[in-house]
């Protein structure tokens, strides 16, 4: 079935799947957002435990999605994996450290004799929430603003050169951190705006999730207050980023020569030339806004049902305009023609075919996740439940 598809079709299919995973990851970052609200919403130890346990049943989904996103990018676009991870070393390392801290904190925070103390583990959760969300946002923004790297496959064939035989090299010594201070084309503003937008979106989603998941009057009241502020800040950063994205020069690929060049308003053109993507983006944004409306104005607890899928659609559309329609999804500002496109960074036809068969498992995975999630969330979390459970966090 898949073997009959062209290499380009497979690359597009895999870019879609990677984008979907990335989009699901951004939605699932509500766990990270929630971790930065534990002390804001929980004034007593009991309240904080409810919040942590509510998040604690979901954190592994976010974590697993991040790992799978990494694996999928490795398998389908290995040149991206090697160039970005090996180049933007400090950004990825900072994200990874934040996730190490998270993985133990739920399980260890309230266990007796836990060496570092409950407060430390709660701080770990906060750090993960802040750094994880902001830096992932910044990293994604560089898909549109570019980074300073070069790729030359001949490097490994030149044994007499002064260079190491390595094909990808980052051309600034800051290895990724420069994304937050690169002034050319005001890239730092754009990158930081998306980082902060993702961070506040994660908090917004967390607040909506709590409203649906927790049965505790005081906590829910606080989520309602907090939601308005976080939603406003999120919208300011996100709209700033999105509007600027429509105006900046994008990294276009000449379909005949494969040369990369700067095209004014490239990302706006992509939306207009791919109306389906534009519709996905608009439906997504409306979904998020409707979710906010349902919660803030109608005072219902179902906001997450709209804002969650809305987030997924919005991010999906953004990844699509980064990769489709002759666009370089991981551009190099150092050397335009080192930029990565879904065509020049992908795996072979054979590997993408094999992986496409593997992707047929995804609906089953989603089905059992939904089953398990529903089974666990039939009833909202209460203080009594946590205090009677021998395995609460």
């Amino acid at each position: 079935m898949f073997e009959t598809l062209s290499h380009t079709a497979l690359q597009e299919y895999w870019w879609f799947l990677a984008s979907l995973l990335g989009a699901l990851l951004v939605f699932l970052l509500f766990v990270q957002g929630g971790q930065t609200l534990i002390y804001k919403l929980g004034k007593t130890a009991d309240e904080r435990n409810i919040i942590v346990n509510s998040l604690g049943r979901k954190w592994e989904f976010t974590f697993t999605t991040l790992v799978t996103f990494g694996g999928a990018m490795f398998a389908s676009f290995p040149l991206f994996y090697s160039t970005s991870f090996g180049g933007a070393y400090w950004v990825w390392m900072a994200i990874l450290f934040a996730f190490i801290l998270q993985a133990v904190s739920y399980e260890y925070r309230r266990k007796p004799n836990n060496f570092l103390g409950e407060k430390t583990y709660d701080v770990f959760l906060f750090i993960n929430g802040l750094i994880g969300a902001v830096l992932l946002g910044v990293a994604v923004s560089t898909f549109f603003t570019g980074s300073e790297f070069s790729v030359d496959k001949m490097n490994i064939l030149n044994l007499s050169s002064e260079k190491m035989p390595i094909i990808s090299s980052w051309e600034t010594s800051w290895h990724g951190l420069e994304a937050v201070w690169t002034t050319a084309h005001l890239a730092f503003l754009q990158n930081l705006a998306l980082g902060l937008a993702v961070f506040f979106l994660a908090r917004v989603l967390a607040l909506l999730y709590f409203q649906r998941n927790i049965d505790h009057k005081e906590i829910i009241e606080r989520t309602r207050k907090s939601l308005i502020t976080n939603a406003i800040i999120f919208l300011v950063f996100f709209l700033f980023w999105l509007i600027r994205l429509m105006l900046i020069d994008g990294f276009a690929v000449n379909p005949d020569t494969k040369e990369v060049f700067l095209e004014p308003s490239k990302y706006l053109h992509n939306l207009l030339e791919m109306p389906l993507v534009l519709i996905i983006l608009l439906v997504g944004i409306i979904g998020v806004l409707w979710g906010l409306f349902v919660s803030i104005v109608k005072k219902k607890d179902t906001g997450i049902w709209f804002a969650g899928p809305g987030t997924v659609l919005t991010v999906l559309a953004l990844f699509m305009i980064a990769g489709y329609n002759n666009t370089a999804f991981y551009p190099s500002t150092f050397d335009l023609n080192s930029s990565l496109t879904i065509a020049n960074s992908s795996s072979s036809h054979f590997t993408l075919t094999v992986m496409s068969y593997v992707s047929l498992m995804i609906p089953f995975v989603l089905a059992y996740i939904i089953y398990a999630w529903r089974a666990m969330d039939k009833k909202k979390i209460t203080s009594e439940e946590i205090n009677s459970d021998s395995h609460s966090y």
Binding site: T68, P78, Y89, M93, I100, K163, S347, M376
Partner: protein, 522 residues
């Protein structure tokens, strides 16, 4: 021509070794204990005896503490392929990435979804569904083991692929060959069965401590019976697959085998060194060789272990480095020259293609194809061939420690089963202490196994095709040093936390016995 940043290579290796060794402290227990828990819960569901439910929950608690830190160290490993081995990720990403992605889709979601039900679903789903969840966690974690070991096995024996000169990388052309790679199959079976052994020893050791303290005796005896049976069959399987692994090593990585055995001079009817120590002295006339002393040898056993033939020739380190015409072994220098030819021919091919000179390109491609087998050796052109020899002492000692401990575990499982079954531990306190102190030995055996596998294959990241010097990322050595020490500090702090939490949970565990009724796990 000193363009290799050796410090960067060494620190990158150190960082990967650090994360892998830390990760491997936690994973074997997860792999094995998940099955032991599933078996115990099955007994509970079958018999309806609440005692078994409490036993299951107790081990599940320890499982959770251990699982969390395994996850924390695991994420680093996956991303380190990119952050620290970027050239590798690109050179073979077409093959190596697939098992990693499949691991995520097939195994990690299974594990992480059903672990939530396993821990929190006792009152939310039916008994049967809960049991299913526990089994699925065990299956999920073991499946993740399968895929990562398929990936590792492929690095040791790269098959199911070809080199594509257009993209200048290796590409997969047979998925089933990658999956059913005999090195990978043996490695998977050997690794997971050894993990079950560790989990069994963990359960037996802690149960022994309870018996010494005269607490939770019903839990302990029941646990010991389950664990000793599980452990006994696992260790037998570990030994069988270990033998299979040795034969694969002999076939594909003769240098690793020679290093494991400290064999410098190849011979027919090669003896297996059962015990031996390096004297630390070298013969001035023979500086390459390190002498073994106090060694106890089993005649012809190495020939048999490697080739299932008591008379077979086993090449030594010197035969491999300098070549041995009698047995058709070419020297490393010849391989380096051929590798250099392959690299130069590929460069010529690429240039000719660019300049549109098809004839030159064809000739160059022909030379490349003839010499590709030795591609990786080319990176050692003009360098000392001794750089291609792994750390012999480390390989030798790790291998021997692992094997000796493996045979000791067989004996332990038999004794524990006999005494637990006959309920005769009263006068056998010494055996209980031995069982308790075997726990650290099981961890040592595990780590030793990985040291053999990974140190013994140096300097190859991909056997014969990509050495570590051409696999790293282009970053500063100091950056890797900083992250190395950060990892060291964080992992060590978390390990201390894990051990403290676990010991506290064990010490305060009160699982109701027939004589004592304290109302469940607290």
């Amino acid at each position: 021509m000193e363009h290799i940043d050796w410090g960067l290579v060494d620190w990158s290796r150190a960082q990967f070794a650090l994360t892998a060794l830390y990760h491997w402290i936690f994973v074997p227990l997860t792999l094995g204990l998940s099955f032991i828990i599933a078996i115990m819960e099955s007994i509970y569901v079958k018999t309806g005896n609440p005692e078994w439910k409490r036993i299951t929950k107790f081990w599940m608690k320890l499982f959770g503490i251990n699982f969390a830190i395994g996850v924390a160290t695991g994420i680093i490993l996956e991303f380190e392929f990119g952050t620290n081995w970027s050239n590798y990720s690109w050179f073979v990403g077409d093959i190596f990435g697939a098992p990693l992605a499949i691991e995520g889709i097939m195994a990690f979601f299974l594990e992480s979804t059903f672990i939530a039900i396993m821990f929190f679903g006792w009152k939310k789903v039916s008994k049967k569904m809960h049991l299913w969840s526990s089994w699925l966690v065990a299956i999920g974690s073991n499946l993740s083991g399968l895929w990562i070991l398929v990936a590792n096995g492929w690095m040791q024996n790269p098959i199911g692929m070809h080199f594509n000169p257009e993209t200048v990388r290796n590409e997969m052309n047979n998925f089933w060959e990658v999956l059913f790679n005999p090195v990978a199959v043996n490695k998977f079976l050997h690794t997971i069965s050894s993990a079950y052994v560790l989990a069994a020893i963990f359960v037996i050791g802690i149960s022994a401590w309870f018996l010494i303290k005269n607490r939770n005796t019903a839990l302990s005896k029941k646990s010991m019976i389950v664990a000793s049976v599980f452990g006994f069959f696992s260790i037998l399987f570990t030994i069988i697959t270990g033998d299979g692994s040795a034969k694969e090593v002999a076939k594909h990585q003769p240098m690793k085998l020679a290093a494991m055995e400290g064999l410098y001079q190849g011979q027919r009817q090669a003896p297996l060194t059962a015990i031996g120590f390096f004297s630390g002295k070298t013969d001035p006339n023979n500086p390459e060789e390190q002498k073994l002393v106090f060694n106890l040898e089993i005649p012809s056993a190495l020939s048999y272990m490697a080739f299932a033939d008591f008379d077979a020739f086993v090449p030594g380190i010197k035969d491999l480095v300098h070549g041995n015409k009698e047995y058709g072994i070419i020297s490393y220098q010849e391989k380096i020259d051929k590798g250099k030819k392959a690299i130069d021919a590929l460069a010529a091919y690429k240039t000719a293609k660019k300049e549109n000179k098809p004839e030159i390109a064809d000739t160059a491609l022909k030379i490349f194809n003839e010499n590709f087998k030795y591609f990786g050796y080319g990176y050692y052109f003009g360098k000392d061939t001794q750089l291609l020899v792994p750390d012999v002492k480390m390989s030798f000692y790790s291998f021997h420690i692992m094997v000796a401990l493996g045979f000791y575990f067989v004996l332990l499982f038999i004794l524990i089963y006999l005494f637990a079954y006959k309920n005769k531990f009263q006068n056998k306190k010494w055996l209980l202490w031995v069982a308790l102190w075997t726990i650290p030995l099981a961890y040592i055996a595990q780590e030793a196994g990985w040291i053999v596998a990974e140190v013994g294959r140096q300097p190859w990241v991909i056997q014969d095709l990509l050495p570590n010097i051409a696999a790293v990322s282009q970053i500063d050595q100091s950056s890797v040093q900083i992250t190395f020490f950060l990892f060291l500090a964080v992992f060590t702090a978390l390990l201390i936390a894990e051990i403290k939490i676990m010991l506290t949970q064990i010490k305060k565990a009160k699982i109701s016995d027939t004589n004592e009724n304290t109302g469940g796990t607290k």
